[in-house]
Each structure stands twice: as C-alpha cells, then as structure tokens.
C-alpha cells in the first residue's frame, strides 16, 4: 500500500499559497478573474496545495530540489517605476535590428516596448487586452499540457496575468527578429511571472529572441512560460539567453507543438541565476517535421542550472536533434535530463540526443540523465552523454606556442561550446551569443 508522505510545508510554500489565495480572493471581490484565466489560476492553486514546490521526491526534479533551495517568496512586483524602466532598458540585451518588447520585473512595460516596430503580419497583444477581447488564442494556454504535472509551470499558471499573445499570420516571412526582453532591474527582491503564447501560422517564418537579465546580487524570482505553436510548413528560430543576476531564481518552461513539415530550431544559452531550470516540452503533431534543440550552459561559483527536455514523437517521420554543451567551473552544478518518447505509430522517427560537459574543477558536478522510450519498431534513435576535462595535450600544445594557460583554456572552451552555437543560422544573433560567451570566458580568465 502506498501512503503518500507529505513533509510539512516550508515557509516559502506557505507564502506562495497565501499569495495565490489572496490574489484569487481580491479577484473574486472584483467579480473574479476573467473566464479561462480565472479557472486556470484556481486549478493551479489547488494543484499547488496538493504538490507544493517540486522536490527531489519527484523524479523529474531529483537533481533540482526547489523545496530545499527556495527559502523565501518575495512579494509580487508592482507596476514598474520610470527609474526601473530606464534601468531595465539600459541592462536589457541588445539585439541589432530587433523589435523589442520589454518586461520589467515581470510586468509588461508598454511605453518602453517597440510595438510600433513589429513587422507587418505580426501582432502582439498584452494578455489583459487579449482577455478583454476574448482572443481565441488564449485557449492555447494550458492546452499543451506536459504529460506530467510540472510544478514550475503550475506556479506560472497560478500567477497568470502578465504576458503576450503573439500571432504571425500564415505565410508571413519575417526577417526582423522579435525580442522579448525580461529584465529585473530593482534593488529589492520581487517575484515576476510572465506567459507568452506564440502562434506561427502555416508557412510563416519567425525569428524570436527571449532574453533574461537582471540586477546582480538581488534574489529575485523569475518564472516565464511560453506556448509556441508552429504551423504546417512554418519555420521558427528561437534563441534564448538566460543571463539573470547571480543571486536570482529562474524557472522557464517552453512548450512547443509542431505542425506538418514544420521546422523549429531552439538555441538556449544559460549563464545566469543562482538556480535555474529550463524545461522544454516538444510535441510533433504532423509528419515531416524537424526539431532542433541545442544549447550551451556556462556556470561558475555555486550556480546550478538544469535543462530538462521531453520530446514526444507522436506521429511518424519526424526528426529531432538535441545537443547540449555544459561548462562547469568552481563548485557549479549542471543537470541535463532528456527524454525522447517514440509512440507506437511514430515509425521512421529519427531522434538524436547528446549532452557533453566539461568540468573545469574538482568541485564541479554534472548529472546527466538521457532516456529513450520507444514503442515503434522502425526508428533510428540515439543518445549519449560525456563528461570530461580539458585535454592536457591540447593545452600544452597551445602553451608551447606562447598562449598563457587561461587563454589556452579559453580557446578550448570556446571551441567546445562553438560546436552547438554554429547551428544558430542568423549570423547577427550568433555573434551576440558568442560575444556573451566570450565575456563570460574573459571574466573567468581575469
């Protein structure tokens, strides 16, 4: 007999539940949260009461125990001040030629966002406006449920309110990248929750950048989730840069649904936050689809970063490629969990997953958990994981030519992560990513 044992709630869990409850109560006094958003929030509160924060007793969170790590829950951010907006604009990632929409501490900064710069065929509606307009795309929220309960996502849904509904009309080819910049500029710790629903119409093309930056030394908590729907024959490039302040908590969830002959390439660069988790749920809905999820993680000090993927090959003839590079120095801790499921009807599936990590010190730790679950009999699938250190022979060769040890290490680390970055097709974006990595490496070498 299984008796569920629930440990006592932590103060942070109490604070989260109370804040959720209060938010719903206030909304009820005002006639309740609107329609679907109200329902989702109420369900999330109930689920949170039952599950609490994800912890090591939950298989998917074994290596990233939020219950143990999250000691407090800071207040929700209010509307950003002019000073916050100015500071956010200053420290937000600069992507050349992109239309930038800015979130300050989890609140959409309408005045500081370049809505006017959005290309023709692309619309972005704030979540509250979409709710007021009863936008049918809102149904996408929560309509791509991961197979299991995801505590980080549930929290995001519980605090649903700020975000965007983005629509790219069918056939629209957008060269100009769209940039969703999330910045926590304030000196006090706050919590911010944002949600984006991005629906790319059939045959459309979009380059989307999501960046996460914030004030150093402030223990703010960022939680962002996105539902991305890639229509039949559509192409999407998604670049994600997580460079939160080193004391921050970052929880990110990406849920993608891919239509027939769709193509999605995701690249994620992780260098920030004290503790971060990026969960990717990918689901193939049509055949002939191509999904690439790649990334590089560079950590130092006592940073902890977790990348967890769940790729569901539900239909036949789809291809998925995952390549993750992790560089860990000092006492940093990296986690990679990747699961590819190939359902019974998903014949001719081609799935490859690889996680490679480089440990730069004895105190660094990497946990790899690649998994394949295959129910079809005519598939090609593979996974691998490697953990290594810098090659002594290469280092000596470089040093014997005059390169100081730190510079030799920098070249080798750059070469190691470069293998993943080169898949970013947009040259300007690739340059931005490489520049951020070089900045990290130079800081380390200094």
């Amino acid at each position: 007999m299984n008796i569920p044992v629930r440990p006592a709630r932590t103060p942070a869990e109490d604070a989260i539940a109370a804040t959720l409850q209060a938010r719903l109560a206030v909304a009820a006094g005002q006639g309740g949260l609107d329609g679907r958003m109200g329902e989702l929030s109420a369900d999330a509160l109930e689920a949170f009461r039952a599950h609490g924060l994800p912890n090591r007793r939950v298989e998917e969170w074994k290596y990233t125990d939020l219950r143990a790590a999250v000691r407090a829950f800071p207040p929700l951010a209010g509307a950003p001040t002019a000073a916050d907006e100015a500071e956010a604009t200053r420290i937000a990632l600069d992507v050349p030629h992109a239309a930038r929409l800015l979130f300050v501490s989890g609140m959409l900064a309408r005045g500081a966002s370049d809505f006017a710069g959005l290309p023709a065929g692309v619309s972005a509606l704030p979540l509250d406006a979409a709710t007021a307009a009863n936008d049918p795309l809102l149904d996408r929220i929560g309509s791509l449920p991961p197979d299991r309960y995801d505590g980080a996502l549930a929290l995001n849904t519980g605090f649903l309110g700020e975000g965007l509904v983005v629509k790219v009309e069918a056939g629209t080819k957008v060269a100009k990248p769209m940039h969703l910049a999330h910045v926590f500029p304030a000196g006090e710790a706050v919590a911010g929750f944002t949600r984006a629903v991005v629906v790319v119409g059939d045959g459309a093309e979009l380059t989307l950048v999501e960046s996460f930056t914030g004030r150093e030394g402030v223990a703010y908590q960022a939680n962002h989730a996105m539902e991305l729907v890639v229509g039949d024959g559509a192409t999407v490039n998604l670049v994600r840069l997580q460079e939160e302040g080193a004391a921050a908590l970052h929880l990110g969830t990406l849920m993608v649904e891919l239509g027939r002959a769709a193509k999605l390439d995701v690249f994620s660069l992780v260098q920030g936050a004290a503790l971060s988790r990026h969960s990717v749920y990918g689901r193939f809905q049509g055949t002939g689809t191509n999904l690439g999820v790649r990334g590089a993680t560079l950590l130092k000090g006592r940073q902890h970063a977790d990348t967890t993927m769940f790729i569901d090959h539900a239909v036949a003839g789809c291809e998925s490629r995952e390549l993750f590079k992790t560089v860990l120095s000092d006492e940093a801790h990296g986690v990679f969990q990747g699961k590819i499921v190939v359902r019974r009807d998903a014949q001719k599936t081609d799935g490859r997953m690889m996680s490679q990590s480089l440990l730069l010190s004895d105190g660094a730790e990497m946990d790899n958990k690649p998994e394949l679950e295959i129910f079809a009999d005519d598939v090609q699938c593979g996974h691998g994981a490697t953990v290594g250190t810098l090659d002594d022979k290469m280092l000596f060769y470089l040093r014997s030519r005059g390169l100081p040890l730190k510079e030799a290490e920098r070249l080798l680390i750059q070469a190691f992560v470069g293998e993943a970055v080169e898949y970013v097709e947009d040259e300007a974006l690739r340059e931005v990513l490489i520049a951020r990595m070089v900045a990290w490496l130079e800081k380390r070498a200094a």
Partner: protein, 249 residues
C-alpha cells in the same frame, strides 16, 4: 646560447635523462641521434616545459636564463620552440586564429606591439605557399584532417611566423616521404641564422642529408655518449647503435 648541465629528469618513477650535458652556441645546428627509448623526445619535452616531467638534478639555461623555472608559455616568449613529433589536432580552433593568438601572446609577453590583421595576413600569405599550406588548411581547425606531412609543414609554418631563437625539431622526418621531407628541410634551412640555434632530433641519418648539422651527438640511456661532425651521422648509418649498447650500460 643553450647550456644543459648534468640534467636528470623523470616521468613518474622512471628516470629518463641521467646526467645529460650539451651546449649549443648561437648560429649552430646540432643533431641528436640515438636508438628508441634513449630519451631524445623527453629532452625536447623537458626543454619546452611539458608538465608531466620532473627535473631532479642539473640545469638548463638559455641565454643565461634558467628556462626550467619558466612556464611553457614563458619559454615560448623567450624564444623556445618545439616542432612536435606528433602535432596535436584541436577541433574548433581555426588554424589562422591559433597562429595569430600565438604570435600576439608572445609579442604581448615581450612588451611588443601586437600585429595588425592586415600585416598578419600579409605575413601568412608570404610564408604559407612555400610550405604548401593552403587557404583551406588555414581555415580548418588546427591540424584537423591534416595528413602526417601537412601537420609537419604546419609546424614549420608556426616556426617561420614565430621566429624563435631555439628551434627543437623532434623527429620532424618521421612519417614523411622524400618530397615532403625536402619541403620541410627547405623551410628549416631558410630559418638558419647567426642568432638562432637548432636542435634536430632524429632517428635516421636521412634528414641530415637535407639539414646538414654542425655537430652530431649520440644519445643513449639518457646521456650524450659521443659527439662529432656531420660525418658521425654517416658512420651511425653504417654501424647502427649496437655499439653503444655496452659502453653506456
């Protein structure tokens, strides 16, 4: 220029150099020959600073400076260059980027001004064709996908660009056919200069037909057991190393 006195070095518990003494004046080319396992490659690694080796006794000075106390990169900046017997492949680091980083790192260490991009490109275009180094080889990762001969030629290109004061060539002839050998030898001979010393380590006399040494040393069991002129190499070719089996035992 290079003065080695009573040098003892070990790797782990295995002593390989056992009291080696050798002096190379500026402008001279010295060859070291000897059977397998006599410690020739170890000498080249000890001089260039490979971390696995431990010097237990003796000294090595270069222009009066104790080079054994320096890190490998400091030795390089001081002018020591080792052409590897087995050059290392470094995927993801473009050959050009590597060459330029190396040149500038050395210049920086010596307090000189870095080379500009146009000057660097000009220099490479001047030196690379003579060694048969193509644009493609310069674009690729360092030594990645290079044949044995291409790797050796790439070593000589590095030497030509870095202009070291002490060139140590470790079995540069191994794995080369006669045409490649000539190209490499020409590259080395072009670098012979009054202010530059060379130490050519080889197993066979063949290389020394093309790079004619001023002095030939025979190494056996971690020591120099005999020295002579270029003719000594020919004698060794005739008699082999068998004669040294007894007297150094």
């Amino acid at each position: 220029m290079l003065e080695i006195k009573n040098l003892h070095a070990r790797i782990g518990d295995n002593e390989i150099l056992k009291g080696l003494t050798l002096t190379i004046p500026a402008g001279e080319v010295h060859a070291i020959m000897g059977p397998n396992g006599s410690g020739k490659s170890t000498l080249s690694y000890v001089l260039s600073g490979k971390p696995d080796y431990e010097v237990t006794e003796g000294s090595a000075t270069f222009n009066g400076q104790d080079i054994l106390a320096l890190a490998p990169e400091e030795r390089a900046a001081a002018g020591v260059f080792l052409a590897f017997q087995y050059p290392i492949e470094i995927p993801g680091v473009a050959n050009m980027q590597f060459l330029r980083s190396a040149m500038n790192a050395q210049k920086k260490a010596r307090g000189e001004e870095e080379i500009s991009t146009p000057d660097f490109l000009k220099l490479v275009r001047l030196k690379a064709p003579d060694l048969g180094i193509t644009q493609d080889m310069l674009r690729r990762g360092v030594n990645v996908g290079f044949s044995g001969g291409e790797k050796k030629r790439n070593e000589i290109l590095q030497m030509a660009l870095l202009e070291p004061k002490l060139c140590i060539l470790d079995e540069t002839d191994s794995g080369l056919d006669i045409d490649a050998l000539k190209v490499v030898a020409q590259g080395v001979n072009a670098l012979r200069a009054p202010d530059r010393a060379m130490l050519v380590i080889t197993h066979y006399q063949r290389l020394l037909d093309h790079i004619v040494p001023d002095v030939v040393h025979v190494m056996h069991k971690g020591r120099i057991v005999r020295s002579g002129g270029a003719e000594l190499a020919l004698e060794l070719e005739e008699s082999g190393y068998a004669a040294y089996g007894q007297d150094a035992a």
